[in-house]
Symmetry: C3
Subunit: 249 residues, 3 copies
């Protein structure tokens, strides 16, 4: 916007042609006409400036109103956000409390588990010991040909094995056999192992003596065929041995 | 606001009555008065418009100041909200990490539980087998009248039962009895069942032979009274049977 | 800002010295000069006020522009915050759902634990009973001097003890001994207790009779030295006794 326009220029935009008078013309007009012209010009200046000011005021008022509306709108959004944030914070706090509770319960559970783990281990040890106790008088005889026991009974076979291999035990009383059984022997369920003869001796000492004698003789036989005598292990001990074997081979 | 009011109208609002001159009056006043009037009118127009402009400026300045204050206030709130939101996000992140940790620990716990469950099952099986092993040489005799054993002892009764029912076992050696006991027999604790006689045989084969002979004879008696012989089951097996029974009846 | 300055004052700020005329001078100047002065003054007032208005407009426009820029900036921040808050709310919701899941799984775990706890207790009871069953025919003999058994064997010692202490049991058949063992007896592993002699009798009745006879005799001896006979308790029973003892002493 040019600020340097003169009243003359302003006059040019006016609608009344009588204003478009040069200085010379104004000097030459009648006193009466000059007076009327002066009044008109003054009126025009006042009106024009006032109109301009009104326009400015109107424009600014509109702008300010718009700004305030926008501001109010933003203020509402901010208030909404504040409320929403407050709600979010409440939820976070509640979640945190729940997490703490959960963590406390986890600790409780893990403590309880640890105690239960100990008991489980103790029970497993106790079970192992019980099995070992139940089986401690047992001897396994492995390698006697199948079918042999059908004819004469396993008890007879065991007596023959003792007579064949441990005649020197004759000085001492023979091991007292409480019971003889034939059992499927599952060291490794994938291998097809023959049935075993399981001897339950009355006394643990007899078992120890017999196994010691077998170890010393190195080669134990039944009718010349090599057979093997071993202690009876609990399933747990066998499991442990199997795992060792799987690692080593 | 009317923009079309004339200087005349403006004059009417003025306080100086000398301005309220009609065009005719102005044309009729003295040259000197006209000159003074012109000066006064010019001064008035300038003052009036300037005053109006100042008021506008003042009003707008005030409005803008208010807006800026409000804006500043909102900006502060926004900054507060941003900080609060940042803090909330940190808490959320921390909570998420805690939840992840908790979930990891849950997985660990559940893995550990699964392993422990397996061990527990294995132990239960082992226990069941142990009980069965411990009880496998046992026979229960149910139905011998109470009081009978006080007179002659349970061992004598058992011998009489064998003689009465299984004379044909005479060809073979009689079953070796290791021990005879009188036991409360709790199949169902709610029923009032009589005490049982529990025989522990030395050999499992003798138990099997005796129970087979009893099954074949169908009716086993003690001095003519029907009695019943049964294997000795572990508590676990009895429990399983009882559950089956409860479902079936 | 003073609003009361007159045209005269305004004139003083003008650059044209001919305006600085007093009323008297204006009254005295030539008609032609007066007319030119009037035109000039009108032009000046218009220019001056218009310039002032333009400045005001410019200033206000600038202010409003600044405010709007700031407002836009804030609006952007608010939008960002809203989005960020929405994202936070999503995360919170997800976290809450995860927490609920975790809590559900905790309940499941605790339920499973409770069931496992029951099974564990049942197994422990079963184990205890099994041990008691396995050991129920056993008698411990405590206090026989060490080394004694090397010469003659523990079995012989036991026979001597029975002969020395329970001759009145002669009416009845002597207790049938199934097996005699020497065992480390660990009531309290911190105390250095001597090895014990463990007798396994064939019949539980023999154990009960022997222990009853020992209690009645009050003082049991081996070659005059006081010894002690006791039942064989399972590790669990001993543990319970030890705890009681620790509390009582």
């Amino acid at each position: 916007m040019k600020r340097q326009r003169t009243i003359t220029q302003m006059r040019e935009k006016g609608k009344t042609p009588e204003k478009q008078l040069s200085d010379e013309e104004i000097l030459s007009i009648q006193e009466k006409d000059f007076r009327l012209l002066m009044l008109k010009m003054m009126q025009d200046i006042g009106n024009k400036l006032e109109a301009k000011m009104d326009t400015l005021q109107e424009t600014v008022t509109k702008e300010i109103q718009d700004i305030k509306l926008k501001q109010e709108e933003m203020q509402n959004t901010i208030t909404e956000i504040k409320n929403s944030l407050e709600a979010a914070n409440s939820r976070i706090q509640e979640a945190e409390e729940q997490i703490n509770e959960v963590e406390d319960r986890l600790v409780e559970i893990m403590d309880a588990e640890q105690k239960r783990e100990k008991r489980l281990k103790r029970n497993e040890k106790s079970l192992r010991e019980l099995w070992d106790n139940v089986k401690r008088n047992n001897i396994h005889i492995i390698g006697v040909p199948e079918g042999e026991e059908r004819e004469k009974g396993t008890e007879k076979i065991v007596q023959e094995i003792i007579a064949e291999n441990f005649p020197h035990m004759g000085k001492e009383p023979l091991p007292q056999i409480q019971e003889v059984q034939q059992v499927p022997y599952k060291i490794n369920p994938r291998r097809n192992t023959p049935r075993h003869i399981l001897i339950k001796l009355t006394k643990i000492k007899d078992k120890e003596k017999t196994l010691k004698a077998a170890r010393e003789k190195k080669q134990v036989t039944y009718k010349g065929t090599p057979i093997r005598l071993s202690a009876d292990f609990s399933a747990e001990t066998l499991q442990a041995r199997r795992e060792c074997h799987d690692i080593l081979t």
